[in-house]
């Protein structure tokens, strides 16, 4: 901790124009012109605005957006085995898993059991990514999608089918070194 009040070397004093007098008036006039010059120079500078709905800033690969559930590419079976470890790891308690047994007639996942119900309440999710870390089969990952606003709260409860489906509009992904 530096001592208080700070010493003269630490203090950066900015002199304002002296009040009154011809010198102060001249100086205030000069500063006025300087201000005008600054804004005029900025008016030809490049525009910083990103026109959002039309152009989107690409997200980084590790961006934690909306969750996705995955299937095995070769067999088409779900990776999720309904172990509920994600639900246990979830700090905001927004994942609900109801497991059911796989049968030879109805084989859904590669394991012994599968998730009959898999729901994520996205209005409660804090996008911490603990579910992704907890999952032993990489069945759930955080995707890149961040446009999830909706008109009703119950529309924000995403079911297993919605999480398994490909996102409608892909969020642009930032490439290597971008």
């Amino acid at each position: 901790m530096s001592p208080w009040p700070p010493s003269a070397e630490e203090l950066h004093v900015v002199d304002g124009p002296d009040p009154g007098g011809a010198g102060g008036f001249y100086r205030a006039f000069g500063e006025t012109l300087r201000g005008l010059k600054t804004t005029l120079r900025q008016s030809v500078a490049p525009i910083e605005t990103v026109a959002y709905p039309e152009e989107k800033i690409p997200v980084y690969p590790r961006f934690r957006g909306r969750h996705r559930l995955h299937k095995f590419e070769d067999t088409g079976l779900e990776k999720c085995v309904g172990c509920s470890l994600c639900a246990a790891a979830c700090p905001s308690d927004c994942i609900r898993v109801v497991a059911a047994e796989n049968t030879p007639e109805n084989r859904v996942s590669a394991g012994e059991r599968y998730a009959a119900v898999y729901e994520i309440n996205l209005s409660r999710c804090i996008f911490c990514g603990y579910c992704e870390v907890a999952c032993p089969f990489d069945a759930i990952t955080m995707g890149n999608d961040y446009e999830m606003s909706d008109y009703n709260r119950h529309d924000l409860i995403f079911t297993k089918e919605m999480l398994l489906a490909e996102p409608f509009e892909r969020t642009p992904l930032r490439g290597e070194g971008e």
């Binding site: 201000g35 005008l36 600054t38 804004t39 008016s43 910083e48 605005t49």
Partner: protein
Amino acid sequence: MILANVLYYEPWWMQIAKAVVIFAVGLQIVPVALMADRKVMGRMQNRYGPNRVGPFGALTPIADIGKLLFKQQFRPRTSIGWLFAIAPLISIITAVAALAIVPFGDVQDIFGTKTGLYGVDASIGPLYLFAFGAVAFYGIMLGGWSSGSKYSFLGAMRAAAQLISYEVSQGLALVGVVMTAQSLSLVDIVKAQAGMWYIVPQFVGFIIFLVASFAETNRPPFDLVEADGELVGGYNTEYGGGRFATYYFAEYLNMIVASFIMVTVFLGGWWLPFGIHPPGWVEPIVVIGKTMVFIFIFVWARASFPRLRYDQLMSLGWKVLLPLATLNALVTAIIVVVTD
């Protein structure tokens, strides 16, 4: 006893036609100024400004006014109803009335009648302006006071102090021009600038008039009357819908009128530099073009400067502008007498 001569050459039907045209054209500049305000300021702040409604956002003012006109009218229970209703009207009527004496061009031949391209050539031009400027201040003060809200009331009180103090300097700044032109008629003042625009010999007067115009039209950095940071919206805090639109319109119209007056009095009205004499129909375009330059300056200053503190405003008005304006008038008087 004739107090003031109003000079006109036209038959009655031409007078009505002129009034309609000036009214229509004058009010068409308001949306342009509104758009320029937001677009230029956006550009100076490294953003686009409004660009959603219409091509390049050109229809934004219409959308704005349309939205305001369709809103519900309401007023606080503590307000004084009839004053609350007529205050915005006073504001806009005085702003429109000032358009009448702005000279857009010299006397032209239209349909075989000699027509001056101005509403009336009042022989007391600047007095007419300041008379309506003084009434315009009632629009703001009554609006703020009759709202029955403390923020509006504070805004109205500030308006009273600010408009009165700056009107003095504004008037004195014009005295130099009037003495040089030897006339109070705005048309004669423009005609007297055929050789040299008064911005050159009356530069100090021009600067004073420009600064005072910012204060008179409540534009930033002198918008203490509105001061949205501390007074929510000043005199128009309690206004909404059409009445707010009226105030809004009046503010921009005041800015345009102030620009017109500066063009007329200091920038040579319809004269072009370097002895170029265009045909008569170009003259209004020249005047409006020069006005656009001043509107840009208004916006430019708004984007550049923070709002002044109240005591700074007062000390600038009374301790800097007023002595300077007085000195300017005195020196001009001496020079006029010596060279005469």
